[in-house]
């Protein structure tokens, strides 16, 4: 029987939760800020693991990143994925989402037959949620966002039924394979890593490193040159001006003070 081949894209990101702002100097404290696998990608890995449990097959994780991301790949190998590919080459530096998705699409093509491509819904650093749609576009595949579960996979009929959640509804879609899927945030909390798997991650599974030697992409299509958008400037997020009136003291008096002001502002019903 045919078994599914699943590719999962992950990103190695600075742990934005650990970044602190120094109000005195007005700078970002990044020192000692560790990088992590984008947390929303772990939902995608988990969904891939569940799918493999049910239908068998193989999970191949892909990331385009500097060499340090190997640590992230070890982490997901520890979760139980079968193969990990690190796409790493200085020529990919400076990629926007168009160039990133191009490089990822070409990587997926090189992997060969693939039935399902999973991504996390968005990252915690630049959070565009572009990549899944763009990869689908480069590969000319159907795609769907906010997927919570795989309801039915029929490789022979070449289709899958997925369930997704929008603001006010659940939707079930039948989609032709192969398909690119954005896995909803918080939908598939990752399992803890078992000790055996942790050991395997360190000892067994080799990480494949692909440079542009393997991929052979035109330098005009990748990195900075393949990126139509340019980050021209970065500043601190300015604050919305607020009145900043503060009351400290007896709660009853405080509430009186507040209601008086809210009445002046005409914002009470």
């Amino acid at each position: 029987m045919k078994r599914p081949r699943i590719v999962v894209g992950i990103k190695w990101v600075p742990n934005t939760q650990a970044v602190r702002f120094d109000p005195k100097t007005g700078t970002l404290i990044r020192e000692g800020v560790p990088s992590i696998v984008n947390p929303h990608d772990l939902d995608a890995i988990e969904l891939a693991l569940k799918t493999r449990e049910k239908y068998g097959g193989e999970i191949i994780v892909v990331t385009m990143a500097p060499p340090g991301a190997e640590e992230g790949l070890r982490h997901v190998i520890g979760m139980g994925v079968d193969r990990a590919i690190l796409v790493s080459d200085r020529v990919f530096a400076g990629s926007d989402t168009l160039a990133t998705s191009y490089t990822l699409a070409k990587t997926i093509e090189r992997i060969g037959r693939v039935d399902l491509v999973f991504f996390g819904q968005e990252t915690i650093d630049s959070s565009t949620a572009h990549i899944p749609a763009q990869v689908a576009s480069w590969l000319d595949l159907p795609y769907i966002y906010y997927v919570e579960s795989i309801e039915k996979l029929e490789l022979k009929e070449n289709k899958v039924v997925v369930k997704r959640k929008l603001e006010d509804r659940y939707e079930w879609y039948e989609v032709e394979l192969p398909v690119v899927i954005g896995v909803a945030m918080h939908s598939n909390p990752p399992r803890p890593i078992s000790l055996t798997n942790k050991l395997r991650a360190v000892t067994e599974k080799p990480i494949e490193v692909w440079t542009n030697k393997q991929l052979g992409l035109d330098p005009r299509c990748i990195g900075l040159r393949g990126s139509p958008t340019i980050v021209s400037k970065v500043t601190w997020q300015p604050e919305i001006p607020r009145k900043r009136k503060i009351y400290q003291g007896n709660p009853k008096e405080a509430v009186k003070w507040l209601i008086k002001h809210l009445e002046e502002e005409k914002v009470l019903p």
């Binding site: 934005t16 970044v19 926007d96 989402t97 168009l98 998705s101 650093d125 630049s126 959070s127 990549i131 749609a133 763009q134 689908a136 576009s137 480069w138 159907p142 795609y143 769907i144 966002y145 929008l166 603001e167 006010d168 939707e171 079930w172 879609y173 989609v175 032709e176 954005g182 035109d218 005009r220 299509c221 040159r225 393949g226 990126s227 139509p228 958008t229 340019i230 400037k233 970065v234 500043t235 601190w236 997020q237 919305i240 607020r242 900043r244 009136k245 503060i246 009351y247 400290q248 709660p251 405080a254 509430v255 009186k256 507040l258 209601i259 002001h261 809210l262 914002v267 009470l268 019903p269």
Partner: protein
């Protein structure tokens, strides 16, 4: 404005069609139909605010684009776009566009954009818009900037500056697309106010001929829909919001916030920590990975005021903070702050509001 340098086609990725920025003109807003409300969605109208602003800076016009299958509904939606500032609206209707499938719509939008060549295309970054826009951008090999909170024009070059808060909303990045058109940008709902409605405004409605476009065979089929029960107003539409954080701590504490919200005729929302603690569902989370809100009155209770939270309350008219820590950053983002234990203050506030309504009736 100075003339742009010509793009050298030899230097371009061969997978991109070589076009010159000078071939493109005008600002487009791709509208989205709110299927449950049967009209144009609020976030689509909100996108007309930055569109009108950029258009006036560049001295060009604003055009809406609507796709769908219900002719009457689309025409009504087009008029709404005109009342809110669009100079004209283009409509494509076809039975083949039912039901909505992102890939199908994206491919047709790409063809229409490619035909008329606007220099800027805006999409509302609703859940559907966030799925749709990057596919359109990629089909056109155009640059796209997600979830902008400001737009401006680089006076020297005429490039649009798309300004967005990446990196957990601590930073603000100015992004531009100097050599490629159209420049595509999106903004989350409630980041911009809707322009004022003027029903006397006139504008053209242009009907596109479906025969001129390749409507792709859908590879995705909607097989079932189940609407969630919703008795309450969603937080992004609420006028009064009482929002709780980790400081509130318990479900029982959130019950009290509900009581306060009810008195105001509003709803309860929360911070991400409150969501993580299971005190409130994710669809009521305010902030970068939740929703932006535009309440008349936003009361933050036991919320510290992290950058990722306050990015969601920029459009609120009055912000009140209740926190026991006088140094909590939320006080910098509030109009009125009360330092103290939230339970005591909310109890007093509920009492005072009850008395106030009693007096009024």
């Amino acid at each position: 404005m100075s003339k742009k340098k010509e793009v050298n086609c030899e230097e371009l990725c061969p997978e991109w069609e070589c076009t010159q920025p000078s071939e493109y003109s005008g600002i487009w807003v791709v509208g989205e139909i709110d299927e449950t409300e049967e009209t144009i969605s609020e976030p689509s109208l909100q996108m007309l605010t930055p569109a009108n602003y950029i258009a006036s800076k560049l001295g060009v016009e604003v055009e809406g684009l609507l796709l769908g299958y219900d002719k009457e509904l689309l025409e009504k939606a087009a008029h709404e776009m005109i009342y809110h500032g669009a100079n004209r609206v283009r409509i494509l209707t076809s039975n083949k566009l039912k039901p909505y499938i992102a890939e199908v719509y994206a491919r047709i939008i790409s063809q229409i954009v490619d035909k008329y060549k606007p220099e800027v295309v805006f999409f509302p970054a609703t859940m559907k818009g966030r799925e749709l826009a990057p596919y359109v951008a990629n089909t056109l090999r155009a640059g796209i900037t997600a979830d902008c909170t400001q737009f401006d024009v680089d006076e020297k070059t005429g490039d649009v500056l798309m300004i967005r808060p990446p990196f957990a909303a601590i930073l603000l990045a100015y992004i531009k697309t100097p050599t490629r058109r159209p420049q595509i940008g999106t903004a989350r709902p409630n980041v911009f106010p809707k322009p004022p409605r003027d029903a006397s405004r006139k504008g053209e409605i242009l009907w596109e001929d479906e025969k001129e476009y390749k409507i792709p065979r859908p590879r995705t089929r909607l097989v079932r829909v189940e609407y969630m029960k919703r008795e309450e107003i969603p937080i992004e539409k609420a006028e009064y919001i009482v929002s709780g954080g980790r400081g509130v701590g318990t479900l029982e504490g959130f019950k009290m916030l509900e009581e306060l919200a009810e008195l105001l005729g509003g709803v309860v929302a929360g911070s991400r920590k409150a969501v993580d603690l299971g005190l409130i569902p994710h669809d009521k989370q305010v902030g970068q990975t939740g929703k932006a809100v535009k309440a008349k009155l936003y009361i933050a209770v036991g919320i510290s005021g992290a950058a990722q939270h306050v990015v969601g309350i920029r459009e609120c008219r009055v912000v009140v903070a209740i926190n026991k820590d006088p140094d909590a950053p939320i006080f910098k983002h509030a109009d009125y702050g009360i330092v103290g234990d939230w339970r005591e203050i909310v109890t007093e506030l509920i009492k005072a509001l009850r008395e106030r309504t009693k007096k009024a009736s």
